[in-house]
Amino acid sequence: MFYREAGQFKSTYRADQQILPIRQDRVAMALLLLTAFVIVPLTAPEYLLRAILVPFLILSLAALGLNILVGYCGQISLGTGAFMAVGAYAAYNAQARIEGLPLIVSLLLGGACATVVGVIFGVPSLRIRGLYLAVATLAAQFFVDWAALRLRFVTNGSESGSVSVSGLHVFGLPIESPASKYLLCLSFAVVFALLAKNLVRSGIGREWMAMRDMDVAAAVIGIRPVHAKLTAFAVSAFIVGVAGGLWGFVHLGAWEPAAFNIDRSFQLLFMVIIGGLGSISGGFLGAAFIVLLPIALERLPQLLHLPVSTAMSSHLTSMVFGVLIVFFLIVEPHGLARLWATAKEKLRLWPFPH
């Protein structure tokens, strides 16, 4: 099938401003959503849903949130794990303390708390820049790790600092079966992706990008750095917080602070960079890369029936993974999303280059 937009004319700005101006893209997206919402839950085996797709979707969501901060507003953060943790523990407290609070509401409350924390730790960004800020955000990471272990109210008095949830319901439907968990996460991911897309193509999004590309010029045309940066931190932290809630509630079910440690922060930053800074799809592509690749690599020897010891295979995995990351950064520093975009550019002109 040809990927052409010839003959597709835009008569209104509204039409020209929609997310997917090209018809073929709209069709493709529709198909993708159909597959994701109908076909996958019906056909995919439990392992795929529970162990691959659920974490993939949740991390995509978190990456989406981080991308707003790093990709669109240009503020590097290594404290993402902390914001996830805040979201998870806050949501847990909401559930534990308020009888019969709907799950969705607690998750959003978790996001709200994460927003507050995010803004607080965003304040230094008004003065500190680049890598300095990146390292400074680690303060959030370690502080939250500590708080979750030390402050009793965070874990609702749990002696050991670990908490657990069960019997999840959404609109009266139990969230137990793999498919239901998957659909819940998918819905969150899709809705937030849409909202985020709207933000970044509206005034606020342009403020963020202006701040990222040339902050002085941005200030001169009347953009307030405080407003731009803090809203970015807030929105980002909110989404990340909700993702954290999902991670704790839906994926793990019970967790200790280590579930949101610094490794998580790095992992998410990876997803954003590999996936593509400043693109909504980037989060998803990046998450796919980072979540699926190691698992696939690890299974490879077994598939090929190579006699490789567990330790060896995981060492090899980590080596190949490392190499691939560097390789990707070399071929396309702007990430998979850009790769995809260029491919489309080519396709649009094909078979007549230039």
């Binding site: 303060a139 500590w146 990876f270 090899l316 980590s318």
Partner: protein
Amino acid sequence: MAFFIETLIGGLMAGMLYSLIALGFVLIYKASGVFNFAQGAMVLFAALAMARFAEWIPQWVPALANPIVANVLAFALALGVMVLVAIAVEKLALSRLVNQEGITLLMATLGFTYFLDGLGQTLFGNDIYKIDVGMPKDPVIVAESLFQGGILISKEDLYSALIATVLVALLALFFQKTATGRALRAVADDHQAAQSIGIPLSTIWIIVWSVAGFVALVAGVIWGSKLGVQFSLSLVALKALPVVILGGLTSIPGAIVGGLVIGVGEKLSEIYIGPMLGGGIEIWFAYVLALLFLLVRPQGLFGEKIIDRV
């Protein structure tokens, strides 16, 4: 009082080791603009190499069974390995990533981290290994005349701190006095300028990464003989991050002062504030400390000031 001094000294000695690792970060950042998160992995890798070679050499050549000889040879071999790593990094990755943004380079170094962790454990194993360079393990009590009970100092830490100090001094000299050192600093300021002196950038990067590898090796030996050589060594580098930003990414004196400040700040906070908060605060306190400094001087204690021109 005596205990306060003990804490202080403990902090200073720990801080000196942080400085050492921080130095690794600064050297590389100065010369190649790369924030090298692989520093920790390099420490582990170097320590593993050192430990295993020291173990293997007597097996290969029984004539070299003498521990000193074995250690020296192992150190040399390990250093060689680190140089190879440096060359590989430059040829295979850095040279292809020139003029990328800082964040991209940072991510690349995380890629190195995965690779080195995997490779190190594949080549050298993933158990606990011993580096025995004859560090004294027992403490000494000093100044008993001044305070009753005196001041207890861990000899091992003392020696480690001394070694670190010497190394740091040497590197500082190397940068100030030698031609290569000057060239390295030139690169830091302006790549074209450096090339115009007639030193190819690639050479300089290889040198810098090798030096960083050397620093990692020494740090690895010190920490390794302290903790035993095992995967967790790679996490020691995290302790150096607040030091680096506190001191300024581009400043060698910054790394030193920053290290001491963080070292002392950590210990004092843990001992005197920690109990009120249930303890375990030093890890984030170090970062908060760095953060506060940055709010006053966004470019760190000795970092270069950033001015906007439009």
